[in-house]
Subunit: 162 residues, 2 copies
DNA sequence: CTCATCTCAGCAAGACTGAGATGT
DNA sequence: CACATCTCAGTCTTGCTGAGATGA
C-alpha cells in the first residue's frame, strides 16, 4: 500500500497562487461550517451586512455592493425573507424595484453571524501574532487593490469548450 | 441610474477570509487564462509537475500527491495522453495499475507552463516589493501550515440540503 | 425606443460520491 | 475474504448567461 501522506511537488508548494488558493479553500470551509450552524450561507451574511450598513436598498443595488450576481440576489432574498430576516416590498417611487429592508430579527441574526465569523478569523490566523496579522492583512489588501486597479483585462467571458 | 462602483460594506472589506478569497479568485482567473492560451488546465500542470519531479507513477499515487480526485485524474490523464504529453501503460508488477510516464513533449510543455505561471505570479504580486513578496509568502505559508496542523476537523462531508 | 429591474431556467466547471470490474 | 486500482456515470454547488415581463 502507498502512503497517503505523500508530499506535493516542489513547484506546486512554492507557487504563491497555489498557496493563496489553498488558504482560501480552508478559510471557505471554516466560514461555511460556521455559518451552516445557523442555517445561513455566505451570501446571507453579505446581504444582511450591506442592508445594515447602508439601509434599505433595491436588489440591483445590493448586487452591486456585494458583488453577488443578480440571479443569486433573487434567490438569497427569497430565502432571507422566508426566514423573516428581511422584507421585500415594492418601491413606490420606482415600481420596477423591490425595496429590501432588514427586520429586527435580521439585525440580531447578523450580530450572531458577526460573532461566529470573528471566531473563524481567529482560527484562520491562529499561527500569526497580532502584529503579523496586521502585516498580513495589509499586504493582502495591497495585493487586492493592485489587482483591482491593474487588469487591462477583458470582462470575464463565458467560453464553452468544444 | 445607480453607480456601478458602489463600495462594499466595511465588514466585508475588513474580513481576512474575504480578502484572501478575493485575491485567490483573481489569481485563479489569471492562472486559468494563462494556461488556457496553451489549451491546458490547472490539473494538467499539477500532473506534469508531479511526474517530472517524482518520475513515473500510478494514477492513484498522482492523485495523492497532487490532491486531485481519482475521477479527475482519469479524465486528465486521458486528455494528456491524447495530446501525447504522457503515456499510459499497464504496470507489469501490479496489473491493477497503469504507469503514467511523461513524454519529451510533456517535459517541454511543462517548461512552457512554468514560464507562463511565473509571469502570472509576478502580475499577482506586482504591488509588492521583493522584500514584501517574501514576507507575504512567508506569512501565507505559516497560515497554511497552521491550518494543516490544527483542524481536529471532520473530513469534508458532502451534505445535500433538503 | 432605450434602458433598468426582477425573475426564472439552465449551463459549465469543479469537487466529489457510488458502484462495478479487475487484480492482489 | 478484505483491500487497492481504474473507470464511468452522475450529483451538488457556484458563478454566470439568456431571455421574458414590467416599468421608467
Amino acid at each position: 500500500m502507498e502512503n497517503a501522506e505523500e508530499t506535493a511537488p516542489r513547484r506546486l508548494r512554492a507557487l504563491p497562487s497555489r498557496l493563496i488558493n489553498h488558504v482560501a479553500m480552508s478559510a471557505n470551509r471554516l466560514v461555511d461550517r460556521a455559518l451552516a450552524t445557523t442555517g445561513s450561507r455566505r451570501y446571507d451574511y453579505a446581504l444582511l451586512a450591506a442592508l445594515e450598513e447602508f439601509g434599505p436598498a433595491s436588489q440591483a443595488a445590493l448586487g452591486r455592493r456585494t458583488g453577488i450576481d443578480r440571479s443569486d440576489v433573487v434567490a438569497t432574498v427569497n430565502e432571507l425573507s422566508a426566514r423573516g430576516l428581511v422584507e421585500r416590498s415594492p418601491d413606490p417611487a420606482d415600481r420596477r424595484r423591490n425595496v429590501i429592508t432588514v427586520t429586527a430579527a435580521g439585525i440580531s441574526h447578523l450580530a450572531l453571524l458577526d460573532r461566529l465569523l470573528s471566531e473563524v478569523q481567529d482560527a484562520l490566523l491562529a499561527s500569526l501574532t497580532t502584529a503579523e496579522r496586521e502585516q498580513f492583512v495589509g499586504l493582502l489588501t495591497r495585493v487586492a487593490d493592485g489587482l483591482a486597479a491593474s487588469p487591462p483585462a477583458r470582462p470575464p467571458v463565458h467560453t464553452p469548450r468544444p
